[in-house]
C-alpha cells in the first residue's frame, strides 16, 4: 500500500527545502562577495591570484546551488517558474549572463592565449560579484512587494510592464534588499578570505574593509525589514484562496510562528556575533558564525513570504493572480516522490563538508601559488 502524505504538508515541506536552498545560496555567494573586491583589495598580482584561488575552489558550490535552487523551484512550484522566469525575462537573463561569464573566468583568466587577457576575465568576476547578488536580492524582494503580472484561465502569464522585470528596480524597497544582499555577501567574502588566506598584508586590508561593508549591510537590511514588517502584506484567504492586502501581515507571520521567529532572531544574533568576532577580536572563525546566521535569516524571510496564508509571489497588478504555495505547487504525487529523493540531502551536505575540510586544511599562501599545482 502506498503511503500518501497530505498535499499541504508536502507543499510546506518543499517550501522549507526551497528556503534552505535559498539560505545556502546567499551564504555561498561569499564567492561573489569576494569577487567584488578583485580590483580593490589586492595590491599586486600575487595577492589577486591568492584571492581568486581562494574563491575559485568554491565557485562551483554556489553555481550548483543556484542551478539546484532553480530545478527545485521548477519541480515543486512550476507555476512560479513559468510566471517569474517567463515574465520577469530581463531580470533573470541579466542574472544568468552574470553567472555565465563567471563560470569560465576562473579557469581562463591566467591561461596563456586566453584571447581577451586576464583583466577582461577579472572584470567578468567583478561584474558577477556585484550584479549577481544585487539582482538576486531585488528578485527576492518582489516576493514581498509584488510583481506586475496576471494569469489567465489556463495559467498563461501576461506581464504588465514592457520592461519585463526591470521595473522592479524602480521600487526602493526592492533596492534595499538588493543592496543588503550585496553588502552581506561582501562581508561574507571578506570573512572567508580572512579565514583562507595566509598573508599579513591582505589580512590587514580585509579588516579595514569589514566595518565599511558591515555598516551599510546593517542599514539596508534593517530598512528593508522595517519596510516589510511595518507595511502591508499579501494575505491569502485559507478557504477561498482570495488574496488581499493586510497591514502588518509579514510582522504577524514573523511573530505568529515560533519557528520563524527563533530562526530570524538566532540568525540576526549569529551575524552580529560574527561581526563582533571578526571586527573586534579579528577571529578567522567569524565566517562560521556569519554563514549559518545568513542561512537561517534567509530561511526566516522565505517562511514569512510563503507560510501563514500568504501569497509568496504576489501580483501587484491583479491580486487574484498572486501565487500561493497551494496554487503554484506540483501534484501531491510529484512532491511526495521528490520528498523521498530529498532525503539524500544530508548525505550530500556531509560529503561536501568532508571535501571542503580536506581542501581547506591548509591556508593559501603565495608559495603555493607559485608551485606546480593547478591554479587560477
Amino acid at each position: 500500500m502506498t503511503l500518501m502524505i497530505s498535499h499541504t504538508f508536502l507543499q510546506n515541506y518543499w517550501w522549507l527545502i526551497i528556503s534552505l536552498l535559498a539560505g545556502l545560496l546567499v551564504f555561498l555567494m561569499f564567492v561573489q562577495g569576494g569577487q567584488s573586491f578583485i580590483f580593490s583589495l589586492p595590491k599586486n598580482d600575487m595577492q589577486r591570484k591568492m584571492l581568486v584561488n581562494a574563491l575559485g575552489r568554491k565557485w562551483e558550490f554556489t553555481f550548483t546551488t543556484l542551478v539546484t535552487f532553480g530545478g527545485a523551484f521548477f519541480a515543486s512550484f512550476p507555476l512560479f517558474y513559468a510566471t517569474s522566469f517567463g515574465g520577469a525575462y530581463w531580470v533573470w537573463m541579466a542574472i544568468l549572463f552574470s553567472f555565465i561569464i563567471q563560470a569560465i573566468a576562473y579557469e581562463y583568466r591566467s591561461k596563456p592565449s586566453n584571447v581577451f587577457g586576464t583583466s577582461v576575465f577579472d572584470t567578468f568576476l567583478f561584474i558577477n560579484g556585484c550584479l549577481g547578488p544585487f539582482l538576486i536580492g531585488v528578485a527576492v524582494a518582489t516576493f514581498f512587494t509584488g510583481s506586475d503580472f496576471s494569469l489567465d484561465l489556463f495559467n498563461s502569464v501576461r506581464w504588465g510592464s514592457g520592461w519585463h522585470g526591470l521595473e522592479a528596480l524602480l521600487n526602493p524597497v526592492n533596492l534595499l534588499l538588493g543592496f543588503a544582499v550585496l553588502f552581506l555577501v561582501r562581508v561574507l567574502g571578506l570573512m572567508y578570505l580572512y579565514n583562507t588566506i595566509e598573508d599579513d598584508d591582505m589580512s590587514f586590508a580585509i579588516m579595514k574593509r569589514l566595518a565599511r561593508n558591515a555598516v551599510p549591510f546593517l542599514v539596508f537590511f534593517l530598512a528593508f525589514a522595517a519596510c516589510i514588517l511595518l507595511g502591508s502584506g499579501y494575505m491569502a484567504d485559507r478557504a477561498t484562496g482570495n488574496v488581499s492586502l493586510a497591514k502588518y501581515h509579514y510582522l504577524h507571520n514573523l511573530t505568529g510562528n515560533i519557528f520563524t521567529l527563533i530562526l530570524f532572531l538566532a540568525g540576526v544574533a549569529l551575524v552580529l556575533v560574527s561581526l563582533w568576532t571578526g571586527m573586534i577580536r579579528h577571529s578567522r572563525r567569524a565566517i562560521w558564525f556569519a554563514g549559518p546566521g545568513t542561512v537561517v535569516v534567509v530561511m526566516a524571510l522565505f517562511f514569512m513570504a510563503g507560510f501563514g496564508d500568504t501569497a509568496f509571489y504576489p501580483s501587484s497588478a491583479d491580486l487574484q493572480s498572486s501565487l500561493t504555495l497551494a496554487r503554484a505547487s506540483s501534484s501531491q504525487f510529484t512532491l511526495q516522490t521528490m520528498m523521498y529523493v530529498s532525503f539524500i540531502i544530508p548525505f550530500v551536505v556531509l560529503y561536501i563538508w568532508y571535501a571542503w575540510r580536506s581542501l581547506n586544511r591548509t591556508r593559501i599562501t603565495g608559495e603555493e601559488m607559485t608551485g606546480e599545482d593547478h591554479t587560477y
Binding site: 562551483e60 522566469f85 515574465g87 555565465i100 586566453n114 581577451f116 501576461r158 519585463h164 571535501a355 581542501l359
Partner: protein
Amino acid sequence: MIENIDLSLVNWSRAQFALTAIYHWLFVPLTLGLSFILAFMETIYVRTGDELWKKITKFWMTLFGINFAIGVATGIILEFEFGTNWSNYSWFVGDIFGAPLAVEGILAFFLESTFVAVMFFGWNKVGKKFHLASTWLVAIGANLSALWILVANSWMEHPVGMIFNPETARNEMSSFRDVVLNPVAIDKFTHTVTSGFVLASVFVIGISSWFIIRKREEILARKSILIAGIFGLVSSLALALTGDSSARTLAQVQPVKFAAMEALYNGKSEAGLTVIGALTDSGERIGEKKVHDVKMKIAVPKLLSVMTTGKGDGYVPGLRDLVNGNPEKGILSVTEMIERGKYARQLLTDYKMAKEMGDAASLETLAGKFRDQDFINNYFRYFGYSYFDHPWQVIPSVPVIFYSFRVMVGLGFFFILLFTLALLFFYRKSLERNKWFLWLAVISIPLAYLASELGWIVTEMGRQPWIIQNLMPVNVAVSNISTGAVQTTFWLFTVLFTSLLIAEVSIMVRQIKTGPKH
C-alpha cells in the same frame, strides 16, 4: 491565450534554445568521456605507482578543466530557458519534467562539483586513494547528470507516466518509475553517453597522434592511444548497438520522425534501409511540404521492415500514410486527429467555464470525461493536434533529418574503424610509421563533434513541430514576451558564446602545444 502568438517569436525562441543547446553540446560529450579516461589513467597510476601515469593524467586533466568550465557556463542557461522562453511549457509539464531536473541537481551536480574541486586542487592535499575516488566520482556525477536530463528529454519524445488534470489544466506525474524507465530514456541515455565516450576517445587519440607526428611526448601519446583506443572501440560498438535499439523504439513511438529520417513518403512492405542517397524535389507536395525522391540510392533490402516490425515483410508507414491516414493499416489521418484534439480542448474550455460559473453539475460530468479511458485513449491523446490548422504541419524538415542521420551513422562506423586501426598499429608498434593514420586521427576530432551534434539535430528537428510529442506544439509552449526581447538575447548569446568558444579553443590549442608539465 496562445492563439495569437507571433510565429517569429516562436522561431526566435527556437533559434535561441537551439543555439544554447548546440554550444552546450560542444563541451558536454568530452566531459562525459574524458572523465572516465582520466579515471582509468589515474587508477593505473595508483595501482602501479608509476609517476608517468600521474603526468599523463594531469595533462589530460588540464584539458578537461578548460572544457568543463565552458560546459557548466552554457548549461545553466538551458535549465532556465525552459522558464524564460517556454513558460507555457514549464507550467503544462513542470509537474513531470521538473522532477528529473531537481533530482539531477541534488544527486549529480553536487557530486560533480564537489569532487571536481578535489580532483583539480587535491593532488597534494588529500591521499592518493581519496583523490582517485574523487576522479571516479566526477565521472559518475557527470554521467548521472546526463541520465536525469535525458530522462526529462525522453519524456518530451515519448510522454509516459502521467495523467491530465483538468482542474489545473496540466499533465501530472502518475508513475515516476514509468518516467525513469521510459524505453526512449533507456535507449537515449546509453546512446548519448556512449557517443560522449567515443568523442572523448577520438579527441585523445587525435591529440596523441599529433604528438607522435611532432615526435614529442611519444610515450605519453602511445599510452594514451592504448587507453582511448580500447575505451573507444568498446564504446563505439556499444554506440552502434544502442543506435539500432533507439531506431527500433523510434519507429514505434515517433513514426513521423522515423519516416522523415528515411524520406519514406509511401508506406510499404519489405522496405529497405537507405544507406546512401540524394534527395531531389519530386515536384509533388503534401500540403505546402515538398515531397522528395531519393536518387543514387543504395539500400539494404528489407532491413527497415525488420527494424520496424521484426519481420522482413513487415509494413512500414510512410509520411503520406501518417498524414492522410491508412484505414487498412489502422492509421488515423491527421485531419481526424485535429478534430478529436479540438473536441478534447473544447471540453477543457467547458470545464474551466463551468468552474468560473460555479456550475457544479457540468463540472462533475466534464471531470468524469477526463477520467474516462475511452476519452483519454481516443480523444485526449490528440489534444496537441488541436493547435494545427493543416495536417501537413506535422511533417518535420525531411532533408535536414535525412542527411544528418546518414552522416552521423556513417561517422559512427568510421570511428569503429579508427579505433581498430589505432589498436592494431599500437600492438604492431607501427604508429609512427603510419603517418596517414596519425593525420586521419587528427582530422577526426572535428568529425566526432560533427557526428555528436548531428545526433541531436536528428532528435530535436525530427520531433518538430512538437515540443512534447502529440501533446504540445512549440508555438503553444512559448513565453508571452516580445520578439525583440528574444532577438536581443539571441544575439547577445551568439556573441558571448562565440567569444568564449574562441577563447576556449585558443587556450586548449596552446595547452596542447605546451604539452605536459615536466
